[in-house]
């Protein structure tokens, strides 16, 4: 079972939920995939023991100058302006290349071969009994979705897999949420939080993934967020109170499920609820 933890808005508590849920469920056999590759943070709370690093590359054209006639067909067909012919020579702007591989096929002189560029790395190891995998995007690389797909390839089907997704509702978030069995949307009861929750719900429904909501920094009043969830039949699986103690544990890199009473059970109950909902579906 693959459960993805996502949110529209950033900073609502995805990492808090992902790391604490993993810690609380360690006896079940848990794998945590950090797919927030622009800003991966799970390993700050669950430090790696004996990590292994794998470098992730994407395809770029490699121009064989001696075979190139400078005809410019490749550049004229490149949709991303990654190739340009300057004084009869093909120049590659590899940051712009989307790795479609078209130019390699088009070249009438077989002057383009398959090369590689680094886009990031994947770190794999264990942390306190959790199988932890983190994708880390290279600075200036714009190919986050490609790296996310590579991280998801590491999913171990024999375990309960938790995926920490990037914020937002565009291609990176879509890459992380696609194919999951369940999506936990973490939100906060502010107008920003609610606005972005609605967008995230729309995205997740479009991808056909069932949804549960976790309200973080929740106060006691029946919030507009709760009303929205009730109206739209979105189950609220957990409310984490607005509590400076929680913020401080998090700030120092701690886990509330280890350091504050009650949370370990709360996160176990979330999984219980998800499993029941999936069985009934």
């Amino acid at each position: 079972m693959r459960i993805v933890i996502a949110s529209g808005k950033g900073g609502t508590g995805k990492t808090l939920v992902a790391t604490n849920m993993a810690f609380s469920l360690v006896s079940k056999g848990i794998q945590l995939l950090d797919c927030d590759v622009e800003e991966p943070n799970d390993h700050l709370f669950l430090p790696f023991e004996n990590p292994l690093t794998e470098h992730v590359t994407a395809l770029v054209p490699e121009i064989i100058n001696v075979k190139c006639s400078g005809c410019g067909l490749c550049a004229s067909r490149c949709m991303y302006n990654a190739l340009s012919v300057i004084k009869g020579k093909v120049m590659l702007f590899s940051d712009l290349c989307h790795s479609c591989g078209g130019c390699i096929i088009y070249c009438p002189f077989q002057a383009i071969e398959q090369g590689e560029k680094a886009i990031g790395r994947i770190i794999m190891g264990s942390s306190q009994g959790i199988d932890l995998v983190a994708g880390i995007l290279n600075i200036k690389s714009v190919q986050a979705p490609e790296l996310i797909k590579e991280v998801l390839q590491k999913a171990n089907v024999k375990k309960t897999v938790l995926v920490d997704a990037p914020p937002g509702t565009s291609c990176s978030a879509v890459a992380a949420v696609s194919g999951a069995d369940f999506c936990l949307l973490v939100t906060e009861p502010t107008p920003y939080g609610l606005h972005d929750l609605k967008l995230a719900v729309e995205m997740t429904q479009k991808l056909g993934v069932p949804i549960g909501v976790i309200i973080n920094k929740s106060d006691s009043n029946l919030s507009r967020t709760e009303q929205y969830c009730l109206q739209h039949n979105l189950p609220i699986l957990l409310q984490i109170p607005y509590d400076l103690k929680i913020a401080k544990v998090y700030a120092e890199g701690g886990l509330i499920s280890r350091e504050l009473p009650g949370y370990q059970q709360s996160f176990r109950d979330v999984l219980g609820d998800i499993e029941r909902m999936s069985d009934n579906a």
Partner: protein, 287 residues
């Protein structure tokens, strides 16, 4: 026409709340929301939309059933797994046109794909340019570039441009940095906040843009706050101010107001005003 972009690396550090205060304090500026995935600035600046534009993010391939000879070339050549059983899954399609150019039966069309919209609006604090990417759409970096282009036209070479940027360090962030003069990073003193601050500062420096930092929720962790100060000292980046954890941000937000409008006498407001004065000192070099 200096351009200020407000970034954070980590989400939820207070970019939008602080950018909204700057928009008020600047009195007259062009205000831009480049967080096109989850735009929020309009919730506190309440703009009136004046002009509306469709955003053509790219192309999407469509297979013409009548012409398709089912040879499977397109599926084989597509690196984005967007084609199965002679159908294009438009969510996966990146508009690279490889299928179009390699189809032996010319059975593929490329259509413009509208993947969002953007607006030029009036607000009490100046012209606002903002946009909305469609749900589950790509090309956010390109939409950011179009929004910035409109903002520059609105600025007419005179007004300051204040940009509320997206979180992270990816494609839309890279795009919002293009042509900026100063990048202010709103940092939060948590281990995640520090980690993400380092990555976004590296991106800013690789783009040769002057960085400044402010610390929000500064009393959340004394230890992490001093890590941020030390880090900035080493990198010779100005820390233009600090703001304590203040529930008034949420109270103001619940009334759809920037904090400096909600409580104009509070300590936090004074701190933000001081921060703005310090930032203007940096920005004025670029006028």
């Amino acid at each position: 026409m200096p351009e200020l972009v407000v970034l954070s690396g980590k989400g939820g550090t207070g970019k939008t709340s602080i950018a909204a205060c700057f928009a008020v304090l600047a009195r007259q500026s062009i205000i831009v929301d480049c967080d096109v995935d989850a735009a929020n600035l309009h919730l506190v600046l309440n703009p009136q939309i004046k002009e509306k534009y469709s955003f053509v993010g790219g192309l999407k391939a469509v297979i013409k059933d009548n012409d398709c000879i089912q040879c499977g070339q397109c599926e084989q050549n597509c690196r984005f797994d967007a084609i199965k059983d002679f159908q294009v899954n438009s969510m996966q399609c990146e508009g690279c046109a490889v299928c179009y150019y390699t189809c032996p039966a010319a059975a593929i069309e490329l259509n413009d794909h509208i993947s969002g919209e953007y607006y030029v609006s009036d607000s009490c604090y100046g012209t606002m340019v903002h946009g909305k990417l469609g749900i589950a759409e790509g090309n956010s970096g390109k939409l950011v570039a179009e929004i910035k282009k409109k903002a520059r036209i609105a600025a007419g070479g005179q007004d300051l441009i204040i940009i509320d940027g997206p979180p992270g360090i990816g494609c839309p962030v890279v795009s919002s940095l293009v042509g900026a003069d100063v990048a202010l990073v709103v940092a939060e003193p948590t281990v995640s906040g520090v980690h993400d601050l380092i990555r976004v500062l590296e991106l800013i420096s690789k783009n040769n843009i002057e960085a400044a930092v402010c610390i929000n929720k500064a009393d959340l962790s004394a230890e992490q706050a001093s890590v941020i100060r030390e880090l900035c000292r080493q990198k010779q980046i100005a820390v233009i101010g600090e703001v304590k954890f203040d529930q008034a941000f949420v109270e103001a937000l619940n009334l759809n107001l920037p904090l400096v409008k909600y409580d104009s006498d509070s300590v936090t407001t004074k701190n933000i005003e001081q921060m703005w004065a310090n930032l203007l000192n940096i920005i004025k070099k670029y006028y």
